[in-house]
């Protein structure tokens, strides 16, 4: 008797092949891989910083310190989660949860290779933008509920910064979208099979890169946690695992930003010799390396200059770029 002919098994197969299953399995994989990935990135960051600064970085735990961040994570897990007395307890508790969730969701539409995609959502790009905006709210919540002036200044800066930089970010993305006529990330990558969009849209690529750096609060735009002024910014009062959730979110957002840049401008999985997955990861990690490299090179920008830069440089340039793209597309 053929077991596949059993009626209920058919349903099971249908269920296993459905989007829901793919989503659950994908999210589980993400949930497993993202923290490990972050641990790896933190190590890379410390190694890059170390070697730029002529020192070896972490060296003690494991060969060349490769287990350092895992040990740190264990340490953070074991730490007491202090809630200061004068905080707004509920918001203080919720903020680190809300910061992590959207970071995980951002992985759903990202095409790591033609097959490796949880769901090619037809509004994929918009989905990522929408969810990444939520992290601002959680930063504001963290800063507000901490009842600490440094945190509050950091949170307020964060909101202004994110509002300002979403505009050039979206405008730069728009230049790509009007070329591809789709929000689906898989199709955007397909469109770059011959020529990467970075060659068509170099200005948009630069603007997108700068704006994502600012969106993810990385140096030189890390005013939110500017440690020389604000001690530690919005997460000054957070300890233990709550603190590491903010950390997790920061690095995950960085990965998503780099992956988006890869999808939009660097041709996603396209590349010779290696399978698509490898190419995608190479491109993504290279971009992350560039972000880290920049962090250990530049001083921090001042708040008013940050705003001036967004409104006076990035937005005009991205608008002009969009206009030119539209005209060229229309004429051709």
């Amino acid at each position: 008797m053929n077991i596949t002919q059993l009626p209920y098994l058919k349903d099971i197969y249908a269920f296993l092949g459905s989007d829901v299953t793919a989503g659950i399995v994908g999210l589980l994989i993400i949930a497993a891989i993202v923290p490990l990935n972050v641990a790896f990135l933190v190590l890379v960051e410390r190694k890059v910083a170390g070697h730029i600064q002529l020192r070896p970085g972490p060296m003690e735990v494991g060969p060349h310190g490769i287990l350092q961040t895992l040990i740190d994570a264990v340490k953070l897990l074991g730490k007491e989660m202090v809630t200061p007395q004068s905080t707004d307890k509920l918001i203080f508790f919720l903020a680190p949860i809300i910061v992590v969730a959207p970071a995980f969701v951002g992985f759903v539409p990202i095409p790591f290779s033609p097959m490796m995609q949880i769901k090619d959502v037809n509004v994929g790009i918009l989905l990522i933008f929408a969810f990444s905006s939520i992290s601002v709210i959680s930063i504001l919540m963290a800063g507000w509920s901490s009842n600490n002036k440094y945190s509050l200044i950091g949170a307020v800066r964060s909101v202004a910064q994110n509002v300002a930089y979403e505009i050039p970010l979206l405008l730069a993305t728009m230049s790509i979208l009007i070329m591809t006529n789709t929000f689906k990330m898989g199709e955007i990558v397909q469109a770059q099979s011959s020529v990467w969009f970075i060659f068509y849209q170099p200005i948009a690529a630069i603007i997108f890169f700068i704006a994502t750096t600012a969106e993810t609060n990385r140096a030189p735009f890390d005013l939110v946690e500017a440690e020389s002024e604000l001690v530690s910014g919005f997460h000054t009062e957070y300890t233990g695992m709550r603190f590491s959730l903010f950390f997790l979110a920061e690095y995950t957002n960085m990965v998503i930003a780099a992956a988006m840049f890869t999808v939009l401008f660097l041709g996603g999985w396209h590349g010779p010799l290696f399978p698509g997955m490898i190419w995608f990861l190479i491109k993504t990690y290279f971009l992350i390396f560039v972000v880290m490299w920049a962090r250990w090179t530049y001083p921090r920008i001042r708040f008013d200059q940050l705003m001036n830069f967004a409104w006076k440089v990035l937005i005009p340039f991205s608008l002009v770029n969009l206009l030119i793209t539209a005209i060229v597309l229309k004429v051709l």
Binding site: A49, I52, Q53, L54, R55, K149, Y150, I153, A219, P220, D222, L223, A226, E227, S228, E229, V231, W296, T297, Y298, P299, R300, I301, R302, F303, D304, Q305
Partner: protein
């Protein structure tokens, strides 16, 4: 820069708040406490609160002999300990009328200038770190490390040298020190390009520093500002030139000045002074005279009755030792004129109207050491 006077006074009470920068804060160079009144991110008032690292050096001096006070001056300004030590020895020598051998003077100048470079490295690079650039700071430490190694080779210590003695110095310089200093001069000259291009030309750095915290000549006079902070405002006052002491009149060097008076100017003055210090060291090594390194001085000096004021230039400005002696082996009163003390309070004048981030920048560019203020 916003003018705080234009802010509407009626609403201000609800908007202003005070922020305690320090005493535990990443960029207040030790235990310094700035009480900042803010409106949003705009600074309305800055009040430095000092005294956290007061150790009572001046009272200590009244309880010990002149020799026993020797380790103390280096602990006031720990970054230019050699210069303070040199200055204290000079003050006592002036009081006692001790003639120092020329070789000892040359060695003192060499070590003091090396120490000045080390201190300026901290000053300039710490300013860069206050702006968020951490890498140049650590490179500066790397270069400074060579100076510390050199000084350790002859003094045996890395920070609080206690190297000078009345009438000379403790040890003669060695061949390794001589060659090592030569090598270091060449090495450092090659490094300035990196610093220039990494920091000084960087657009973010320029934007953060230009027209920030301008000290005019009048304000400088009003607050008694000295040192690189003053020379950034276009006044070429340097005790090494104005009241030449030790072997400085025998050397050919410039006093770098900038007219702007902002943070960038102060940073540039520090970097330019490092090059001048290298010139001085090179000349001193070229013409290092032979001879004894210590004059014949009794074990315990006994100055005559009288008082004297001895000014010298540390890495932060004009320091002065005022010593009153009653003719015994124990000083009656020693007063240290600390340049950081005078320079620090300029903050109250120039900070209002700037942003919070600029307070850190200005504070870093003035380059104070807290133990020297508190003494």
């Amino acid at each position: 820069m916003l003018n705080p006077k234009t802010i509407d006074d009626t609403s201000i009470d609800q908007r202003v708040y005070t922020l305690n920068l320090g005493p535990q804060h990443p960029s207040t160079h030790g235990v310094m406490h700035l009480l900042v009144t803010l409106d949003g991110e705009v600074v309305l008032k800055v009040e430095p609160v000092i005294g956290y690292s007061h150790r009572g050096h001046e009272k200590m001096a009244e309880n010990r002999t002149y020799e026993q006070f020797l380790p103390n001056p280096a602990r006031m300004d720990y970054l230019s300990g050699m210069i303070f030590n040199h200055g204290y020895c000079m003050a006592v020598e002036k009081l006692c009328g001790i003639e120092v051998p020329r070789r000892a003077e040359y060695i003192r100048v060499i070590t003091s200038e090396l120490n000045r470079i080390a201190s300026h490295f901290i000053g300039a690079m710490d300013y860069a770190m206050g702006l968020g650039a951490i890498t140049p700071f650590l490179w500066g430490w790397d270069d400074r490390e060579h100076i510390l190694d050199l000084l350790e080779g002859i003094t045996g210590s890395r920070l609080t040298y206690s190297y000078g003695r009345f009438g000379g110095v403790r040890n003669d310089i060695t061949k390794e020190f001589y060659d090592g200093t030569r090598r270091f001069i060449d090495r450092l000259r090659g490094r300035f390009w990196d610093y220039e291009n990494l920091i000084n030309q960087n657009i973010i750095f320029i934007k953060r520093s230009k027209d920030v915290g301008v000290i005019t000549k009048d304000v400088a006079l009003d607050y008694g500002v000295t040192g690189p902070t003053l020379r950034g405002s276009g006044v070429n006052y340097d005790v090494r030139k104005m009241e030449p002491y030790s072997a400085y009149p025998e050397f050919n060097f410039d006093i770098p000045t900038r007219e702007e008076g902002d943070c960038l100017a102060r940073y540039q003055v520090r970097m330019a002074e490092m090059e001048q210090s290298l010139n001085i060291i090179e000349q001193a090594l070229d013409h290092l005279p032979p001879g004894p390194i210590r004059a014949k001085v009794p074990r315990l000096v006994t100055p005559p009755k009288g008082d004297c004021y001895c000014a010298f230039e540390s890495a932060r400005g004009a320091v002065g030792f005022y010593i009153a002696s009653d003719g015994s082996r124990i000083p009656y009163r020693i007063k240290v004129r600390a340049p950081s003390f005078s320079n620090l309070f300029v903050l109250t004048e120039i900070c209002p109207g700037h942003f919070l981030a600029d307070v850190i920048a200005i504070f870093g560019s003035i380059d104070v050491t807290v133990p020297e203020i508190d003494r």
